[in-house]
Amino acid sequence: MSVVELITAALLAIGVFFYFAGTVGILRFPDVHSRLHALTKADNLGLMAIVIAAGLHFGDGWIAGKLALIWLLALFAAGMAAQLVARAALSPEHNA
């Protein structure tokens, strides 16, 4: 196993760990807003690790750009969605 492969494997492990951490948070945290934290932050870290691992694996600049775009889009979407859902969760109707 080469160094790059080792790093890739490590990144994959990190990514999966963050995804699992996010899931545990979503399942165990007591209220909507803390669950939201768990979801948006952990999952995007996980995605980042995975994206870097995939970029190393492909080893191609053009593909790395596309991967970066995917991660950025997901990041922006998560940030915005978290904001909006958090506010929506404050309205009484939504907790009905």
Partner: protein
């Protein structure tokens, strides 16, 4: 490992579908339907059908989900729907029995399929004439272009059908609610940020579609999503449906497609492409279709006019 993944995916697909269809709460059902759409898109990836996966991700998970949300809202605000009269148990029993029988019969049919090569060999053999790298685009716009032509007109007809539900006092007006515009809110800034990127993705998809997975339908759907996002963020209002440029945009793609078919007819064979010029002609059709599909889908989701 791959098999374990496939198994897990199939079980999840069935579970998500069950929750979507049998959920008590309509809102939850729609959520699970979107989840289901994403899972189906993943299934198509593992089957190696990236073109279908793109279409399913864009249409099945994205647009249909948003469409259902809009319908749920409209039905709720109209005061209809939500409390569902319980269906009598004999119906459940009969339907369950019929469904089980159906499942058995179909599974039996699937397992007794003889197994053959289908048309997998024919496409690459003939693809050279179209100068396209992507066989699926070759089928859609070459070998079975007539299907695709009718399909785009199904979309156009669906738009006419949706418009036919406009209350008469609002005809030619603006669809959808009047979105409040918070100029510096999260939504607005996101709405400003996302469209250029969505535009890039859409252009890329239709450009790549000739030789790699992608194409007019996928790109048009992404463009439509961008359009709707701009409206939802309150940056721009929906256009007035009586506007001539809008209507011209809607018929542009089908008209170009139909026109190419008719020109081919005058030159000998309908829906054939001039020799050596197939690729540029197909690209022109694809670009025109992308624009029209985007407009049509966005207006389908917006629904009939609701304001003057």
């Amino acid at each position: 490992m791959s098999l374990a993944f496939d198994l897990a995916l199939c079980i999840l697909i069935l579970g998500a579908a069950a929750l979507a269809v049998f959920g008590r709460d309509l809102f939850g059902s729609i959520v699970f339907f979107i989840v289901y759409g994403v899972l189906i898109a993943l299934a198509w990836i593992t089957l190696g059908a990236v073109d279908v996966s793109l279409a399913e991700a864009a249409i099945g998970a994205g647009v249909t989900g948003v469409l259902l949300i809009g319908a749920w809202q409209g039905i709720r605000d109209g005061g209809g729907g939500e409390p569902e009269a319980p269906t009598p148990w004999p119906l459940h029993l009969a339907a369950g029995g019929a469904a089980a029988a159906l499942c058995g019969v179909i599974s039996f049919a699937v397992l007794s399929l003889p197994g053959h090569d289908g048309l997998a060999g024919e496409v690459p053999e003939n693809q050279g004439a179209l100068e396209l790298g992507n066989p699926v685009t070759g089928v859609l716009l070459g070998f079975r272009a007539y299907d695709t032509l009718l399909e785009t007109l199904v979309l156009t007809a669906a738009l006419a059908a949706v418009w036919s539900l406009t209350p008469s006092q609002f005809w030619g007006g603006i669809p959808g609610p009047n979105h409040v515009k918070p100029p510096d809110g999260v939504l607005a800034s996101f709405g400003r940020m996302l469209p250029p990127r969505g535009l890039i993705v859409a252009v890329y998809l239709v450009w790549a579609g000739a030789d790699a997975p992608g194409g007019a339908f996928q790109a048009g759907t992404v463009l439509a999503a961008v359009w709707i996002l701009i409206v939802l963020a309150g940056l721009r209002d929906e256009p007035r449906l009586s506007r001539l440029p809008l209507r011209a945009l809607i018929i542009l793609g089908p008209l170009v497609f139909l026109g190419v078919g008719l020109i081919g007819m005058l030159l000998g064979a309908p829906l054939s492409y001039p020799e050596g010029q197939a690729k540029p002609v197909i690209l022109v059709i694809e670009y025109a279709l992308t624009l029209s599909i985007a407009a049509t889908l966005a207006l389908l989701i917006a629904g009939p006019a609701r304001r003057r």
